[in-house]
């Protein structure tokens, strides 16, 4: 028994801590959401009435259809713009590839609802472009509703498809394509019959990420959907407005969201199960010899896509320095918006920085050991940990937030309304990224390095510190920063969990949006962009090696 503990002590400790943490702050809240959806208003009797009332309501059914169709359309659009982009970048000799790659990854770390808000500022009812067009006498229908939401998702989420696809295009053994050509297939046919089928798993995985992100996103539909029902937004509205103690209807919507993502996950698994191929030894494809016209076309396409995705963010930054009178743009540069934003206090900015730092450290401390176990100590426990620790990404932030509030608003551990509950929610939500990034780096570190160290007389724990951690450091820092940045722009769980003193920048912007402070909202968005771009730029060299593994 002592020998067993000595040998399994490290995995056991990590396993117990991880299971306890996820059990208390992820599984228990979800079970409570499920429970709430199955109880009547008194909270005492089991009933399916909530499901019946939601599923027979045209409003909520419409919300379900809206959510699913928008998510599916966004995934499709992301594939349609992302795969050609990946192909051009992987195979054509285009100038400025490193810059293109860096810029292409940027939308993933920038808050997507800022992009949605920029669309409103530019193309909304009183948008800059709308006004311009109208004054020129050109009729323009504003971009509210599904088309606007899909456009924003496509432009902010396409990197989820494009980045893995670039890696996949590059990793295809060139000789497989050469064999197809040698057998008489024209380049187009090779692409259709060999190349694309080979990278299909990467494309599907990316499309699934887009689908899930689009399904759970709160900020973008909140800005753009107007009165069209979207599940993640309606769950929040119901939860806030629910009069009874039991958040039954919100619970039903939450369960529906989880069911949708689970079905999507399973569908992707089944689609990929029969396609377990890899192309053995890799002789990566050289850049294609393309005509000057093709090269120019590819370059124009890539730069246009990257530019279009980033223009909204740039526009918001510019607009934040313009003068507003109420919602109306007045012209002239000033810092008024920022003065107004921070008139009451700098507290939201301080909160964002502090909570993001705490959450990033927490997610790293829990996620890295889990990643280590998953890769290095294969067992049933580590397999289970892998599944549980990476499943939070399939749960909408709103739903997790509701679950946490329901679970921890009373009793001995009543933490609702504190900073702690927010940090816990962030850690749970970002844990999949930490685990994935840690395991991705570990996959690149040969286990015989650790064995060599142990063989030379250094005990396992000391080996972990002296060999493994130094080798993982770049990846750990990269993961830490990406977690920080994505927490800083988190809105969907925050909006449910925050209380007055713990307002964050995202909430400040959200409130400015609800009010009439267009300029203030733009200023908040600019502050958020700065909060994300600066850390990413600082560790860019580290991230460049790992940005792909994060996905």
């Amino acid at each position: 028994m002592r020998a067993f503990i000595a040998r399994q002590g490290f995995p056991l400790t990590v396993g117990i801590v991880a299971v306890l943490f996820l059990g208390l702050f992820f599984l228990r809240p979800l079970v409570n959401v499920l429970g709430a959806s199955l109880l009547d208003a008194s909270g005492k009797h089991l009933t399916l009435a909530n499901y019946v009332s939601v599923l027979t309501s045209p409003f909520f059914l419409g919300g379900l259809v809206n959510s699913l169709s928008i998510a599916a359309a966004s995934a499709l659009c992301a594939v349609l713009v992302g795969v050609p982009f990946a192909y051009c970048l992987a195979r054509l000799p285009i100038g400025g590839k490193p810059v293109l790659l860096a810029l292409a990854a940027l939308p993933l770390v920038l808050p997507s609802f800022v992009s949605a808000y920029a669309l409103v500022l530019l193309f909304g009812r009183s948008g800059v472009v709308t006004h311009m067009l109208q004054s020129l006498g050109i009729p323009f229908k504003s971009l509210y509703g599904a088309q606007g939401i899909i456009a924003v998702y496509t432009l902010t989420l396409y990197p989820y498809v494009a980045l893995p696809a670039i890696a996949a295009f590059r990793s295809i053994d060139r000789s497989v394509e050469e064999a197809a050509q040698n057998l008489g297939a024209a380049p187009g046919r090779v692409l259709r019959t060999v190349t694309l089928p080979l990278i299909l798993p990467s494309i599907l995985a990316g499309a699934l990420l887009v689908f899930i992100e689009a399904l759970e996103n709160f900020g973008v539909p909140f800005v753009l959907a107007e009165d069209r029902p979207i599940l993640s937004v309606e769950a929040y509205k119901l939860f806030v407005g629910e009069t009874t103690d039991n958040p039954a209807s919100a619970g039903v919507l939450g369960v529906l969201l989880i069911v949708c993502t689970t079905i999507a996950l399973l569908a992707q698994r089944m689609a990929l199960a029969r396609r377990g191929f890899s192309t053995g030894t890799r002789r990566s494809a050289p850049a294609l010899t393309a005509s000057a016209a093709q090269r120019r076309g590819g370059a124009i396409y890539c730069w246009t896509l990257v530019g279009t995705a980033l223009i909204p963010f740039a526009a918001v930054v510019v607009i934040s320095f313009l003068q507003f009178r109420g919602p109306v743009l007045h012209g002239g540069f000033s810092l008024d918006n920022f003065t107004e934003l921070f008139r009451h206090s700098y507290r939201p900015l301080a909160n964002t920085l502090m909570l993001s730092t705490l959450a990033a450290c927490g997610a790293t401390l829990i996620g890295v050991p889990i990643g280590y176990l998953v890769v290095r100590r294969r067992s049933r426990l580590s397999g289970l940990l892998d599944i549980v620790a990476t499943s939070p990404f399939a749960v909408a932030g709103t739903v997790l937030g509701i679950g946490l509030v329901v679970t921890y608003s009373s009793g001995a551990f009543a933490i609702t309304g504190t900073a702690l509950i927010m940090v816990l929610a962030y850690i749970v939500r970002k844990l999949p990224f930490s685990v994935r990034s840690a395991s991705a780096i570990l996959h690149q570190i040969d286990p015989s390095l650790e064995e060599a160290s142990i063989n030379l007389g250094v005990p396992p724990a000391a080996t972990f510190l002296r060999i493994t951690v130094p080798l993982m450091l770049g990846g750990i820092v990269g993961g830490l920063v990406l977690t920080f940045v994505t927490v800083a722009s988190e809105l969907s769980a925050t909006i449910v969990l925050y209380s007055g003193p713990w307002m964050t920048m995202t909430v400040a912007m959200f409130q400015a949006l609800e009010g009439t402070g267009a300029g203030v909202a733009a200023a908040a968005a600019t502050v958020l962009i700065v909060c994300t771009v600066i850390p990413v730029a600082l560790v860019y060299r580290v991230l460049r090696r790992h940005e792909l593994s994060m996905l």
């Binding site: 000595a6 064995e451 060599a452 063989n455 030379l456 007389g457 005990p459 396992p460 060999i467």
Partner: protein, 354 residues
């Protein structure tokens, strides 16, 4: 430096018996090779000695001390990994000093021992370099220096040459052998390359499917394989199944291949079914009218395909019943059509286990 005793060691993965009741005794200062195809359990056995793979049953001893219960970092083995496993975050010197630091060797002593180890592997003055500045062969030398500098009880080498190109492989195996003799250290060496095993070892254990088929010195392994597997895995051979027809002293007549083969052997009873191993170079094609050497026997067959390989020529002779004998000769065969093959009955091995 010490002898290794592997006593009834077994390990299963899932339902597969990776190592199946293996017992071996490696002598002190011996160069002992585990030879076998991939998946035969040789690497698993080596990793059991190093402590990276647990035993289901059995014991492993260094000298009189039982070590299979010790954690890997306290076994004092020096291991050279297939992919070198040189720490990329440490310089060459720090890599070699790594095990000495773990043993808290004093700084002066350590510097001197590191320098000596680097000199031993012909990397004098490379201490300040980084691993990424070295070639594959040089990384291999660093890995060896790092393993021997701690003066381990045994040196474990896991296919150390498989990542090197053919020429460097031959050069390095000579160096490893010379180093082992110079240090007088016990070596357990894993390889799937039979030529390498024959060239470098004091003794070889041929493994197959988790079991040891035969343990012997290289000459015995090659000339007197005990099982058909050993005969065909080490070198090329012709395996022919037959029945012992008669015995006259130590000379047997074996009915096979549509005729009779004469075999010199002290064992084997009349009526017993046996497998014979005829090495290609033990057979000689007789020119027309040439007499077979004294004591040799003759076979008749038809000359088949001829392959010119440079220093030697390989060809096949088909016997009466259609059995094809692979043969080697220095010069391409002059004859054609029906030919006569001579063989020495003392060079034919009976390989099927009695």
């Amino acid at each position: 430096m010490s002898a290794i005793t592997i006593d009834g060691v077994a390990r299963s993965f899932g339902g597969v018996r990776a190592v199946d009741a293996v017992s071996l005794a490696v002598r002190d200062g011996e160069f002992f090779t585990l030879l076998g195809p991939s998946g035969c359990g040789k690497t698993t056995l080596l990793r059991m000695v190093a402590g990276f793979c647990e035993l289901d049953t059995g014991r492993i001893l260094f000298g009189a001390e039982r070590i299979d219960t010790l954690p890997p970092h306290r076994r004092n083995t020096g291991m050279v990994f297939q992919n070198y496993a040189v720490f990329p975050n440490l310089t060459v010197g720090d890599n070699v000093a790594y095990g000495l630091r773990a043993r808290r060797v004093k700084a002066d002593d350590m510097r001197e021992r590191v320098a000596r180890a680097l000199k031993l592997v012909q990397l004098e003055g490379y201490g300040e370099r980084w691993p990424h500045q070295l070639s594959g062969g040089q990384l291999q030398r660093v890995a060896i220096a790092r393993a021997v500098v701690i003066e381990p009880a045994v040196l474990l080498l896991d296919e150390p040459l498989s990542n090197l190109d053919a020429k460097l492989r031959v050069e390095m195996r000579g160096e490893i052998r010379a180093l082992q003799k110079h240090l007088g250290i016990t070596v357990l060496y894993v390889t799937h390359d039979q030529e390498e095993a024959l060239a470098i070892s004091d003794r070889i254990a041929v493994m197959r499917a988790g079991r040891v088929e035969q343990v012997a010195d290289p000459r015995t392994i090659y000339a007197w394989p005990q099982t058909p597997f050993v005969a065909s895995f080490v070198g090329t051979t012709n395996l022919i199944i037959g029945t012992i027809k008669s015995r006259d002293g130590e000379m047997l007549e074996v009915a096979c291949a549509g005729g009779v083969l004469h075999v010199h052997s002290a064992t084997g009873n009349v009526g017993e079914k046996v497998t014979l191993s005829l090495r290609p170079e033990a057979l000689r094609l007789l020119a027309a009218g040439e007499e077979a050497p004294a004591g040799w026997a003759r076979l008749t067959g038809t000359l088949g395909a001829v392959e010119y390989l440079g220093p030697v020529t390989r060809f096949a002779v088909t016997l009466m019943d259609g059995t094809a004998l692979q043969m080697l000769a220095l010069a391409p065969p002059a004859a054609a059509g029906t030919v006569t093959v001579a063989y020495d009955p003392r060079n034919i091995a009976i390989v099927s286990a009695p």
